[in-house]
């Protein structure tokens, strides 16, 4: 945890805590206030449209004007094309693609253009955009409104993929994404939107590519991201009651991921469990497992274990959905088995 949070007494922290939605809103507000090149565009984002379907961008167009905060048609290719072109000419657009599944109708803009233009032009152009997008299983949104697709983007050179778990991190990471000279995919988990936390100091950046040890431990390292980091912390409490000490490493950034922090933790615990909501097969965990297995082959006392989304579309029925996505109980169970 950051030193800022540690210094604040618990009662004050509760009073100053804001939700994930407010944290993202404040990051956008502060970024737009700091730099008049920052733009926001996306479906429903301006105030006449209620500042977004959950109000994340509420207040921005009233404060900064509808020139800089534009509601768009439901045209994901046009939204991202506009962001890409404007960024090439010196602006800093933050484009909202409402739900992560909607990125699929604009993958050409993200993968063929945003990610590649710097390289293909030999460094003559660049695409400093942020694509904010929300997703998450657990609220019966079904197969086309719930996917965590980080692995697709992490597989594409030229993109950064950022997955905040807390309001604190969302604030600082989003500011870093807006500063970043390259395209960032910023993934917001809908189930964390009501979570509260204290923000860093105004304007404070959290560097991309640096993990955060959310909980110290000695028997098992749990590497997680986004909402699964919150579940992992809860799992660590359960495992502790069974005598297993878990260290939870929240990746914060999936690409680039903090190899050094993960290796340092696993070198100590000698056991690794990776947890993500995205489908396990061919997922982020496979990349991390391969790296850790190679680097710490002689140190590991157990094979690396992974938990992730089932190899199925996200289901509607809440019982099926609960079975699809890992939770604290299953993470704790896996950690205890790994420690045994």
């Amino acid at each position: 945890m950051s030193t800022i949070e540690a210094k604040v007494p618990a009662a004050d922290q509760a009073a100053r805590a804001v939700t994930m939605i407010e944290a993202i809103n404040r990051a956008l507000t502060d970024a737009m206030e700091e730099n008049d090149k920052v733009l926001v565009l996306g479906e429903d984002v301006a105030d006449p449209e209620d500042g977004g379907i959950v109000g994340i961008t509420r207040g921005l167009s009233t404060r900064f004007g509808e020139k800089r905060v534009k509601s768009t048609p439901i045209s994901e290719q046009a939204i991202l094309g506009a962001a890409i072109g404007a960024s090439m000419a010196g602006w800093r657009p933050v484009a909202e693609i409402m739900l992560m599944n909607f990125t699929t109708v604009a993958m050409d803009m993200i993968v063929n253009h945003a990610a590649k233009l710097r390289f293909m032009s030999g460094g003559q152009t660049s695409v400093p955009i942020v694509v904010r997008t929300m997703t998450g299983a657990g609220i019966s949104s079904g197969g086309q409104h719930s996917d965590h697709l980080e692995a697709w983007f992490a597989h594409t050179a030229g993109l950064r993929v950022v997955t905040p778990a807390t309001p604190h991190d969302a604030y600082g990471l989003l500011l870093s994404c807006i500063d970043d000279p390259d395209p960032c995919i910023f993934v917001e988990n809908i189930l964390t939107f009501g979570h509260k936390g204290v923000l860093p100091a105004k304007g404070m950046r959290i560097p991309l590519g640096k993990a955060n040890v959310m909980r110290g431990g000695s028997d098992v390292t749990i590497v997680a991201m986004s909402r699964m980091s919150i579940e992992a912390v809860a799992a660590a409490e359960i495992a502790q009651q069974q005598g297993v000490s878990c260290e939870v490493v929240d990746l914060r950034t999936v690409s680039p991921w903090d190899e050094a922090a993960v290796l340092e933790s696993v070198a100590k615990t000698k056991r690794l469990l990776i947890v993500h909501e995205g489908v396990k097969r061919f997922g982020i965990g496979a990349e991390i497992a391969a790296t850790v297995s190679r680097e710490l082959f002689g140190t590991l006392t157990k094979p690396v274990e992974r938990l992730g989304g089932a190899f199925a579309p996200v289901p509607f029925s809440r019982t099926l959905e609960a079975a699809f996505v890992p939770d604290a109980a299953r993470i704790a169970q896996a950690a205890v088995i790994l420690a045994g």
């Binding site: 733009l39 020139k67 800089r68 534009k70 768009t72 048609p73 045209s75 994901e76 290719q77 046009a78 991202l80 094309g81 506009a82 962001a83 890409i84 072109g85 404007a86 960024s87 090439m88 000419a89 010196g90 602006w91 657009p93 050409d108 803009m109 063929n112 253009h113 233009l117 710097r118 390289f119 293909m120 032009s121 030999g122 460094g123 003559q124 152009t125 660049s126 050179a157 030229g158 950064r160 000279p181 390259d182």
Partner: protein, 329 residues
């Protein structure tokens, strides 16, 4: 249909010819060099389509932007892409304009406003909107031209982009070079609209249907559309009818092109036609035009030699320009 009756003046017509000559000679050299085996690349010949970018680009400044497509070397040469760096790039050399990392389908040269070349049909248009949006925000008076082919008017990006450009009143001009073929398939088999220009009606913007092989007609339409964009009045769609003298990609057998139609198009080649017109009207002499051609031929030859003698890129380049900072192997 056009509001202005301003054709190009004599000096402008000569400039259009100069650009056409450069484009035509460069295409001939590219095909010759590929055939000789000295260069291996996917090449999308634009022979027959030279009038369009030549007559449009004389209305643009270096500050104006273009986004174009894989069949777009003519668009870029007309906008000022330097020959040596072009040739080095298509030869995959370190001295190429994109350090050999882009190749013929991804040429870029922001110094002359050449911002994006895409290998994806239709994708020039949404990004052109973004550049135009930047100009609108900055109030810098720049205009963006998005070039694309007739096939691209059937992909979703075209419709999304035209709709957004219209509602946002962006300073952008969409230029469709209708060469009658989307890859191998003829226009009438793929496109519901009789004229692509008519599709502008859906997006409440002017649509100009012009003979893309007539320099005066393309110039007049471009001037009106570009003036409109620069004045902040919004986008336009220009459909310039032309014909592609070669197959989709150089080397394909073009069996899908009716030989009689193709021959008729070649017989009506706009290049010698315009050349003869300039001489007949007394606007230029044979010697003057020949001197233009000889001058470009020499420069193109020099650029080819420079490219083929240039070194290939260092493999370490794979770690550079992926992100702003160099990445580890």
């Amino acid at each position: 249909m056009l509001k202005n009756d301003l054709g190009p003046d004599q000096e402008t017509r000569l400039e259009i010819f100069r650009r056409m000559a450069l484009l035509k000679l460069n295409d001939e050299q590219a095909r010759k060099v590929i055939r000789s085996g000295r260069l291996l690349m996917p090449y999308y010949s634009y022979r027959g389509q030279e009038v369009i970018p030549a007559a449009i680009s004389v209305n643009l400044t270096d500050d104006d932007y273009i986004c174009t497509i894989y069949r777009g070397i003519h668009d870029m040469l007309a906008k000022g892409l330097p020959l040596k760096e072009l040739w080095a790039e298509i030869a995959g050399r370190a001295t190429g304009i994109c350090k050999g990392k882009g190749g013929p389908m991804h040429l870029t040269h922001p110094e002359k406003g050449i911002m994006v070349t895409t290998g994806i049909v239709g994708s020039s248009m949404p990004i052109a909107n973004g550049l135009a949006w930047a100009s609108q925000l900055a109030e810098d008076g720049r205009v963006t031209v998005a070039y694309f082919g007739d096939g691209a008017s059937n992909i979703g990006a075209f419709h999304e982009a035209l709709n957004m450009a219209s509602i946002w009143k962006l300073p952008v001009v969409f230029v469709c070079q209708n060469n009658h073929f989307g890859e191998h398939t003829a226009y009438h088999k793929t496109t519901s609209a009789h004229r692509i220009a008519d599709r502008s009606a859906s997006y409440e913007m002017p649509g100009h249907h012009v003979d893309g092989n007539d320099p005066d007609a393309v110039y007049a339409a471009a001037r009106e559309a570009i003036d409109r964009a620069r004045a902040g009045e919004g986008p336009s769609l220009i459909e310039a009818i032309t014909y592609r003298f070669h197959g989709h990609v150089f080397g394909d057998a073009d069996s899908y092109m009716d030989p009689a139609v193709k021959q008729a198009a070649i017989d009506a080649d706009p290049y010698p036609r315009f050349r003869a017109e300039l001489i007949a009207s007394g606007e230029a002499s044979e010697d003057e035009l020949a001197a233009i051609e000889t001058g470009f031929a020499a420069k193109i030859e020099e650029a080819t030699a420079y490219a083929l003698a240039s070194p290939f890129p260092d493999p370490e380049e794979l770690r550079r320009d992926v992100y702003a900072e160099e990445i580890e192997a």
